[in-house]
């Protein structure tokens, strides 16, 4: 009888983390996604992504055509049309650069071309303001682009890969923005576990558009001039249906992403301490880490407070948000975007949350906390926010919206 050989112990190789800033981490994800055409135009703080990609291509790390465009408008026209031919593409911008490209950005969604682009969020001019604000990214909330918002450098990198998968899905075929809080994500270096080539190949199938702009595929006429009487509203409806279908595809994609990489993310909403929370802080992006820290400290003092982080603005996870805010006494929206002259002087994210809560059985007291003009918030500010939210449950607040980091007294 031969001796049974002992099985070698199963070892899962722990992937080595790299220390990358957000710009580099996104660039690495674009590389691993085997992107074909990239269009670059500089504007802070997103530029680092293109710098990183350009040097990767120059060093032969992967093959892609990086086009140095003459403007953001050209940048987005380049990737739009390259996508129509069947290439996987990447672009990005920040602040007023995005505003300059707005025309090209809008038609990309209405042509249902799965362009993926990064936004290093930045305040809009004038005056030239390099601070972080959400107003640039939120400008595009109404045009059919999917918009996700990263909390960490790791997530930003992973979101890029998932963005391609969701955007290029035949049920969706919509362009996708990955919003990175300017400087807080783009310029901050943290350890990142990269997605391997093998994981990416399993997770992300090649882009196969249903209709290619290619003589080999026969003649197609795209985006021709159309009378509204012919297909005006139907075309809009098609884009809307695609954004709604994206919700299911996003859930599937993150599930698959966890399967291949071992990194799990809740698809739409990330919460801490919301199980029995009476108070909630709702926000998104990189400052969520500070907000979670504040909530955690208060929880240790016995306050029933939790945090809610939105990972997607479009499609907006309304049902999921309603569920987590169910039974909460008061909630505060913390945000870096504003709409001048808006109802009660509240911000862009507040409008989305308030609209959602209109459908709630019992509505919590909802307050808005604005960090505008790019001045950096601190943990103390978020503590002030939390205290105001908790106070509002028993003392009717005098107003809906509060400005913080402002010189003078608003809160």
């Amino acid at each position: 009888m031969s001796a049974i050989k002992p099985m070698p112990p199963i070892t899962i190789e722990k992937p080595k983390a790299k220390v990358w800033n957000g710009a580099r981490a996104i660039a690495e994800a674009v590389k691993i996604a085997d992107v074909d055409v990239i269009a670059a135009y500089p504007i802070r703080p997103y530029t680092g992504i293109m710098n990183a990609l350009a040097s990767m291509i120059a060093n032969g790390e992967f093959t892609a055509d990086i086009i140095v465009a003459d403007s953001e408008h050209s940048q987005f026209e380049i990737v739009k049309h390259a996508s129509a031919v069947g290439a996987r593409v990447f672009a990005g911008s920040s602040g007023v650069g995005l505003a300059f490209a707005a025309e090209a950005i809008i038609v990309t969604a209405l042509s249902q071309l799965p362009v993926v682009a990064a936004i290093g969020t930045r305040a809009l001019d004038d005056p030239g303001n390099f601070g972080m604000e959400w107003s640039d990214a939120l400008m595009f909330r109404d045009f059919g682009w999917l918009i996700s918002w990263a909390k960490t450098v790791q997530e930003a990198s992973d979101m890029t890969l998932v963005a391609y998968r969701v955007a290029e899905d035949r049920r969706v075929l919509l362009p996708h923005f990955i919003a990175l809080d300017g400087a807080a994500i783009t310029h901050v270096a943290t350890p990142v576990v990269p997605v391997t080539k093998e994981q990416a190949t399993n997770f992300l199938p090649p882009y196969r558009p249903p209709y290619k702009l290619d003589p080999a595929e026969g003649p197609i006429t795209k985006a021709q001039h159309i009378a509204p009487s012919l297909i005006g509203p139907e075309q809009r409806k098609a884009v809307d249906v695609a954004t709604k279908r994206a919700k299911q595809v996003i859930v599937e994609a993150w599930k698959d992403f966890a399967k291949y990489t071992g990194r799990e993310y809740p698809p739409f909403i990330e919460t801490t301490g919301m199980e029995d929370a009476e108070f909630a802080l709702v926000s998104m992006g990189a400052y969520m880490k500070d907000i979670e820290l504040v909530a955690d400290r208060l929880r240790k003092k016995g306050m029933k407070i939790g945090t809610v982080r939105l990972r997607y603005v479009r499609p907006f996870p309304a049902e999921e948000l309603l569920k987590v805010l169910d039974g909460v006494k008061a909630a505060g929206v913390i945000e870096f975007g504003y709409s001048f002259g808006s109802p009660f002087g509240t911000g862009s994210l507040y409008h989305e949350v308030a609209t959602t809560l209109y459908e709630a059985g019992s509505k919590p007291e909802l307050l808005d906390f604005l960090f505008l003009g790019g001045r950096e918030p601190t943990v103390e500010h978020f503590t002030q926010v939390a205290e105001k939210v908790m106070e509002s449950a028993h003392k009717k607040p005098q107003k809906k919206a509060y400005w913080l980091t402002l010189r003078g007294e608003d809160i």
Binding site: K80, H81, A84, H225, I226
Partner: protein, 319 residues
Amino acid sequence: MSSQVAFRSVKEIPGVDYYTAGRRTCAGCGPALGYRLISKAAGPNTIFIGPTGCMYVANAHQFLTSPYSVPWHHTQLGGGGAAAIGVASALRTLMLKGKRKLEDINVVVMGGDGAMADIGFSGLSMGLSYDYQRLLYVVYDNEAYMNTGVQASSTTPWGATTTFTPAGKVKPIGNTRLKKNMALVAAAHPKVKYVATATLWPPLDLMNKVQRALNSGGPSLIHVLLPCPKGWFSSPADTVNLSRLAIETGMWALWEQIEGHFKLNYRPKPRKHVREYLTLQGRFSHLKEEDMDKLDKMIEEEWVFWEESAKVGRLVVPY
């Protein structure tokens, strides 16, 4: 690259059209005739990019039909230059990476004067600075924004009335700017392979120039003057006649620049007075005799430079 001739006679023009029925252009539309000749010359392995302009609005639409039997994609008014780079880049990269069969594919932008000389000027210039092959920018120049109701563009000639530059009591001339010469602008790009001007007459000249441009080995531009009965207030029957008169009066000089070498394609001898060209068009009807003489004088002065350029074989800028 040579000054090869692809079509020696009218008989050699292929019978097949890639720009066919299903359009609603005006009677006697110069750009439609131009589109037809250019698409015939380019052949079936072509992708057309159409920035917004009259050839966007006037084509397709009716009952969701399309006149293009090759791939065609709209781009924004200012996006022609960039869109073509996107298409050319995608094709080249996909072929390079083995994701698509290797093949020669033409990318032709049919951009109006507004799209190319005004709003899309910067993108066009970027496009001409890259090395993508078989990439042709056609400036189809009907000398105004026609689909929005005849407004002046950077290529509207001196003296023409448009709805933005009407001739009135205080401003009797109409448009007082001089026409921007897009072929000269294109020629100013370093190492640009092929630049030419053309019009509907002679048709083989236009078609052969398209062939030469596409085979030139780099990005190219052809500035094509295309009469527009609607905006020129001319008879639809006069479209080709006006193209011919533009050449014979010297109003439009036919030339090409092949890898830096200038060649004058036609010398009007004797040159007709510009009056013959102007009086057929309502947009110049307010011009007095002395205005027409002034314009004729301007043409004469400009032609000294074309002749000089032809003599030395290099462009001598006339302005």
